[in-house]
Amino acid sequence: MNQCTDEVTMRRSPERATSIPSEPWEDISLAKYFVVVILLLLGSMAWALYNEVYTRRPWKSFQREFFALAQRKYEKDLAEAKKALASDEYKQLRQAFNDAVSRYEKNPEVIAARKEIERIDKQLTEVRKAFQLARGDYQATIYVMERTADPGAKRRLQQEVDRMEPEVMKLLGEMESLQQKKKEQQDKLTALAQEKMDAEKKMSAFETRLRDAELGLEALKKERVKIRQVFNDDLKIVDRCQSCHVAVDRKGFDKFKQPFRSHPDVFFLPVEEEKSNGEATKVATPNGETPEPPRLKNLLAMHETEKFGCSLCHGGQGFAASSGKDAHGEVEFVLTPLRRGALVQSSCVKCHKQETELLGAPILNEGRRLVVEYGCIGCHTFAQLTPEEANRQVAPDLKEIRKKLISPQWLVNWIEQPKKFRPTTKMPHFGLTREQAVQIASYLWQNAEKPSQHAPPAATFPATQIRAGEVLVENVGCFACHAMYDKKGESNFAPHLGRIGEKLRYDYLVSWLMDPKQHQPQGRMPRLRLTRQEASNIAAYLTTKRMNRTNRTDRTNRTNNLDDPKAAAEGKLLIEHYGCSGCHPIKGMETRGKIGAELSQFGSKPVEQLDYGLLEKEVLHRVHLHHVRDNVLQARVAWAQQKLRDPRSYDRGRYRKFKDKLRMPNFGFNEKQIEAIVTFLMGLTDEKIPAEWQSRLDERQEAVAKGLRIIRRQNCIGCHQLKLETLTFARDNGKTYHLEGATKIEEQGTIFFQLWKDLPALGRKANEMQPVPDPEHPTDKILSRTPGWGGDIVPLLIDQWVKKARLAPEEARTYAPPMLIGEGRKVQPPWLFDFLKEPVILRPWLQVRMPTFDLSDEDAAAVVRYFAAVDGGTFPYRRVLEREPAYIAAKRQADPTYYARALRMMTSEDIKCFSCHVRGSQKPEGNPSDWAPDLSLAQRRLQPEWIVAWLKNPSGLYPGTKMPQFPFGEFQHLFPGSAEQQMTAIKDLIMSGQLSAPMVASAKR
């Protein structure tokens, strides 16, 4: 075929070569088309390049904008700082500092103290040498003695040891006293240097401002426009967020618009403040080769952005840098959209599983607490909760309802509509019909223990008994947990008692009050060690707590009969259906599992699995979404909110068989509670965070976390304040001050804040009052304020005592339960353990009672450990040298009258400890309400160091205490020596356990 064609062509071509006209397309110039196409191509390439370099890299222009902004800011700062340095104020401060330095150097006291230290050092070297030699001999002799088999030689050596011991102890004592003296001199020097340091501090505030601005400008010069990326292979993080959010970890950009704002101070840590001061001086000394811009010291200091990135907490598509919307992940099909607002707190739970009181995440903490307290755990499983929380029995065992309730009718009403009787109850509304309520009540009634006697006819009690009960209820501390309509106090920790008289039988109440654990071993109500008489009085008072005065008992038999076995059988099915036994232990239902869905991964549950029923449009509309896929996080949040608001609304308008119907009851949560619970739920994701990146609590933190869970469970904070109020304010010298203590009064915009911790930065000591703003610095600006934690009942008791005894409010404060600030350094752990197990009366003036909680050994130890951990105390054991015979003997050896003189000081007319303090069986004069704690208990109770610190300045340790400060250092006729020696002697005497009656008697003689 091919050949053939070739032949034809060859034959034709010679004659055609000249005659055939050229084809038209060979003549037409295509140049212009090519040009157009080339231009188009070039254009599109230019566009592609532009798009690639600019449009798809918006962070470039953001960074340029930021650098310009920052340049302006630092220049302004610099100008201001220079102006301030040129001001007379600074010159004066500088002069004042120089003066202070020269005064300090010339101060004869300083010179004397330095000489004294030198002298003590010399002595100390000698004594130490002697002590080491003596101890060496002593220990060698003991060693030989222990190795000797010959009893005679052993005895001889024993005598030798006994002979040597006092010498060793004497030297030890000398050494200690020399060290003590040295410390006194050093303290004196520090005190004398105070003026110098204060002046320096004031002066350096000016210089710091200049340095900050200079460093900022310097650092800015080195800045280039670049992608700023955090990469963490372990966490699977590629975050480029800081390419736009350039100022996240830079200080001073709080007021700038996004994306140029500093990461907010989520919370303020005083420790961080110290650190930042330390680092600031470090940066100042070397002539900074790579100056760092000033950085924030707060949440980010613990979660460094260069390691953790942003998206781990905030969500979003960290790697996307093409647009804000993409980066925030607020586009279709992205599984992790940005967690805006409070939702960011939900991320904490991903790594912090044990901590229930996370700093800076109050909404999350609240959500977690609600999930446990309201019994969500009864139906749903949450793998993130600690066993402590997950296994909590949140509702009472129902075996005793026949013994406890006045009428079965109450039970039916309650099951039908619990919140009708008690609006604050945690028991949810199940939406039952009357008939269903009767059926459930029948099962419960028939499966409860029968009372030994019939309900006694409603007794009336004498008014005196009722009044006595009322006084007890007000005084022993019931309102730390309970509330009543006609009394102050709003605690919702335990059931509201406003209508308790309509519910409970008198005989049950008496028995319950005397020993609640006997009735509800898993319940939280503690024993207040009431006598039968006291319990009867309280019970009589409680029976009067009714809404309507008519007695309903007589109507009981007319209404519902709960003895029908058929109804009970129906009831059983209903109880199983609604999962009542998830919260209440019910006879015959002990092995039932949880009826609800597991929620351990609810935060990443695929949205298509969420059933919105007929409400999809309505629910999504609330979060401005058209479709669930537009923002899966918001869709999930909206679904959960609706579910919590109206649990069965997703069934609305649909036909369902009874067993398929939604069963979740309505808890009547308010919007705040819903936000908190949803925040917690959204943190329950399936993300796998490697163990080494999860929060690993050290021993101390674990002790705190565990202690806090028990403290919350037992509501210790109903009575005791455990954390101080804090207030942080900024002064125009650029410094921030962090105060810990309590607001005493707020008047005309000024807060009068009593310090509980020394504040050297302001030259203030604990117990002093700091007005904020200070009248001398009217521009002081409050940055943050956190309320104290605990002591809910205190204002009620103060109010009561102000009225009852006409006291000043500050005076009445002593009648409230003590604040437990620094408890871990105050008391000995074994004592606290025993006290928690079986409290003794310590403060005779208190009417409010420390209850017996019947804590398990483990829980009691955990609480003791909590205090030790919080305050940096020891746990569980410590050596108390002052109690040991050898110590006592050495003291006696050195001075046979040591203890006697210490006692003379205590009993003298000048100090008169036992004018107020109880000492075993010996009681002070006057009313018990004016007495002070028993000092014979102190040997086992108090830490020796605390006693000295307390004697030195009681109000500094516990502002407002009744214990006065004494002028130690005087009393030379009683106990010659320094103030320190006098206080040490009293401590030694107390700790030696010699405060026994005979000795006191002999001293008096």
Partner: protein, 226 residues
């Protein structure tokens, strides 16, 4: 030189006249409305060798003949002028604070003394000033306490609960304490409208508006009851 003396004296006189002439006094009487309750009795139950055993009338409400109330404090809430700090004293004799009620200008120093041969402890219940709680042994050194901010401070002794005293700190110089006759005079108040406050330890606190004339006195009487 001599030519300058006369105008100078003249100026001084004019200034002095201005100062004196545009100021008036506030006077009045404080009385109990109705029948006063029988005075409470305090009985020492401790350290009776010093404090004595005899019952003593409580000083919390002293009503004299005609219902005159002693120890009511009157002061002007806000007024121009600065206070001159002074030295004030609080002594203790036979387990009684002396004086029971006193007013001191802000910035003053209060010297605490113990005139009894027994330990006392002086406990300030303040909300604005730094609270002091100091034991003073018999013959102990007096203690100086600075009082910086205006407030009414109750003072007690934790060793002897029946003892009490009040120190009222004021930040302007216009105040007075009623004597046994219930009378008071606040002198030299610059003319103008003010809020006059009366404070009594058991009868509480209340305020009225007063207008002080350019010269002479304005009378403002009070009737208090529980």
């Amino acid at each position: 030189m001599r030519r300058l003396v006369m105008p100078f004296v003249g100026c001084v006189l004019v200034v002095a006249w201005c100062g004196v002439a545009f100021a008036g006094d506030i006077t009045g009487t404080v009385k109990y409305k109705g029948t006063p309750p029988a005075p409470k009795k305090l009985k020492p139950n401790k350290d009776t060798h010093v404090c004595g055993t005899a019952e003593r009338p409580s000083e919390e409400l002293i009503v004299g003949p005609g219902g005159a109330i002693k120890n009511a404090v009157l002061y002007i809430e806000k007024a121009p002028g600065t206070v001159t700090p002074k030295k004030a004293e609080l002594d203790q004799k036979k387990c009684v604070f002396l004086p029971h009620v006193q007013v001191v200008p802000a910035g003053s120093t209060l010297t605490l003394k113990n005139g009894d041969p027994v330990l006392h402890n002086i406990h300030f219940y303040c909300l604005k000033n730094t609270p002091i709680n100091q034991g003073i042994p018999k013959g102990g050194k007096p203690i100086n306490v600075p009082l910086q901010r205006a407030e009414e401070i109750k003072i007690g002794c934790d060793a002897h609960k029946w003892m009490s005293a009040y120190v009222i700190v004021r930040d302007n110089p216009y105040y007075a304490v009623t004597g046994a006759d219930g009378k008071f005079t606040i002198k030299g108040v610059p003319a103008g409208k003010y809020k006059l406050t009366i404070w009594h330890e058991t009868l509480g606190k209340k305020s009225v508006d007063v207008t002080v004339p350019a010269s002479g006195a304005v009378t403002q009487d009070f009737e208090l009851s529980k």
